[in-house]
């Protein structure tokens, strides 16, 4: 019988089951911490200060990001332990399935579980406060944008989880800071070269054109940055993670 060496749905499902079994203790404790925190914040606000109860959504988002990125940075911890890595590497599952399985757990499954339970807690806190449940506020307070942003940023942490052997979370954050500083310096240098007084003269730009050029550049930069962030960064980091995983040895 020929075996599909790239992707098999059943194998993918089995791999996700296996991951839940391997990390069950860690993830149960993490989930208990996260949801206890949500309960504490929500019920505390419901009892002590029930006005504007939907304000708690800001805290939910913070916990959602922090919890999700920590979970992501730990999803390949088996890979970095000399006593455990052999089991993952020799498991008859393709590299694509290992990556997809880990992504599914830390992105769509995590998002679904987090927001479903959060919604239940949110509704419960309104009931405790004796207020009508503001369902619309829950969904219209930038929830979609937060989820989309998480899904992009999460891929960077997924790569960090494959690449860094220890302290993946902190090292990924450090890499991001470094990247932002370098991008900022590059952009600053570029702006300085193009728009400082001397160079405006060098490029022979008169004052009317200068204002137009400024606006055009701003629009161009904004558009490019948005396109790079929303459409390129996520898939690119997933691709990087795939090759990092493929080339990884014990």
């Amino acid at each position: 019988m020929s075996v599909n060496n790239i992707f098999n749905t059943q194998r993918q499902y089995n791999f996700i089951l296996r991951q839940f079994s391997v990390y069950q203790n860690k993830w149960t404790i993490a989930a208990a911490v996260i949801f206890s925190l949500l309960l504490l914040i929500s019920f505390g606000k419901a009892i002590l200060d029930p006005s504007d109860l939907y304000d708690i959504l800001g805290s939910y988002k913070g916990i959602f990001f922090f919890g999700g990125l920590i979970l992501t940075s730990q999803v390949f911890s088996e890979l970095h332990s000399p006593h455990k890595s052999y089991a993952l590497f020799t498991l008859p599952v393709s590299n694509l399935e290992k990556l997809t399985g880990s992504w599914l757990i830390t992105s769509p499954i995590y998002i679904f579980v987090f927001w479903t339970i959060s919604f239940i807690i949110y509704c419960s806190s309104f009931l405790i406060a004796g207020e009508p449940i503001a369902v619309n506020q829950f969904f219209s307070s930038g929830l979609g944008n937060s989820i989309a942003t998480y899904m992009v940023i999460q891929t960077i942490f997924l790569w960090g989880a494959c690449y860094f052997r220890k302290n993946n979370f902190m090292k990924t954050v450090l890499s991001l800071i470094g990247l932002f500083i370098m991008t900022g310096m590059f952009a600053g240098l570029l702006t300085f070269l193009m728009f400082n007084e001397d160079n405006v003269l060098v490029f022979n730009i008169n004052s009317n054109d200068y204002a137009n050029l400024d606006n055009t550049t701003k629009r161009l930069l904004e558009g490019t940055t948005q396109f790079l962030f929303w459409a390129v960064l996520g898939p690119y980091m997933l691709l990087m993670s795939y090759f990092t995983l493929k080339e990884r040895q014990v």
């Binding site: 075996v3 332990s81 890595s85 498991l91 599952v93 014990v250």
Partner: protein, 284 residues
């Protein structure tokens, strides 16, 4: 089944571990991989199982590059490392979840091996001792029916009755299409078990002979003092005796002492190799 072609490998730039290493292993055999500390036995096993990639050359299992880590190749390989950690689940749950990845996994077989090793399926892996965990991993590995089974120091941590159980189980599990590679320092545990002896030294396989040839051409003696010097291939002083290896000129097969054989190969490989390569010269 396993083919290593011109393998070059180094951990550090100026310190190569394997240089142009070649090796061919075929099914239906149990290979005993011996070598001194740091000779590279574990690294060699890691290459064969796709855990390490060579800097040069290629490692094939069933004709496919193992470094690609394709599910088709990996479902026919099971590795039991010397040091390992198991998840905090019961034997039963572990088997249900991990058995799914191996198409020939047989639950009845696993239960049989567990019974032989006196392990309870309801027990949690995290509450077991190192030896019990090892016995479980050996049982699970055998029950996957993977055609290539790699065992690194499998008898470390096993008690005396378990060691003999281990030998019995391994011998009974071998079929024509299976290949087992056992790396160990506990050579006594492998006696009467392995078919072929491999010795790794200075990045090369310096010895690769089957037990039948060895026992036919070499004789292992606890005291070689009375043997003419020309017949002695290797000897070592100990406890008032001079144990050693001599030429086997009789038609009788000699019992192979792996410890003396290993020492002889390391100290005087040329003489032993010459005797094994020689045509039979029986004195009738």
């Amino acid at each position: 089944m396993v083919e290593l072609i011109n393998i070059d490998f180094r951990y550090k730039k100026k310190k190569p571990l394997f240089r142009d290493l070649n090796l061919q292993l075929s099914g239906g055999s149990i290979y005993g991989l011996l070598g001194k500390n740091g000779a590279g036995k574990t690294s060699l096993l890691k290459h064969i199982s796709g855990l390490l990639f060579p800097n040069g050359g290629e490692c094939l299992v069933n004709g496919q590059r193992v470094s690609e880590r394709l599910p088709e190749v990996l479902q026919d390989i099971y590795v039991i490392p010397e040091e390992f950690a198991l998840p905090p689940v019961s034997i039963d749950r572990y088997a249900r979840i991990n058995g799914l990845f191996y198409p020939d996994f047989n639950r009845d077989q696993l239960n049989h091996y567990l019974q032989e090793f006196e392990l309870n399926t309801d027990e949690k892996l995290s509450s077991m001792s190192y030896g019990q965990k090892k016995k479980f991993l050996i049982s699970f590995g055998l029950a996957t029916n993977a055609r290539l089974l790699i065992l690194d120091e499998p008898t470390n941590g096993l008690d005396i009755p378990s060691k003999s159980q281990f030998r019995k189980i391994i011998a009974s599990a071998l079929t024509e299409e299976k290949l087992m590679i056992i790396s160990t320092h506990q050579v006594r545990d492998l006696e009467n078990l392995i078919d072929t002896v491999l010795v790794l030294e200075s990045g090369q396989i310096i010895f690769n002979h089957n037990i039948a040839t060895i026992s036919e051409k070499l004789r292992f003696m606890q005291d070689v003092k009375a043997i003419p010097a020309g017949e002695v291939l290797y000897s070592e002083e100990g406890a008032g005796r001079k144990a050693g290896i001599v030429k086997n000129t009789s038609q009788l097969e000699s019992r192979v002492d792996l410890e003396i054989l290993f020492n002889g190969i390391i100290k005087n490989p040329a003489a032993i190799e010459a005797q094994l390569s020689k045509q039979n010269d029986y004195v009738c």
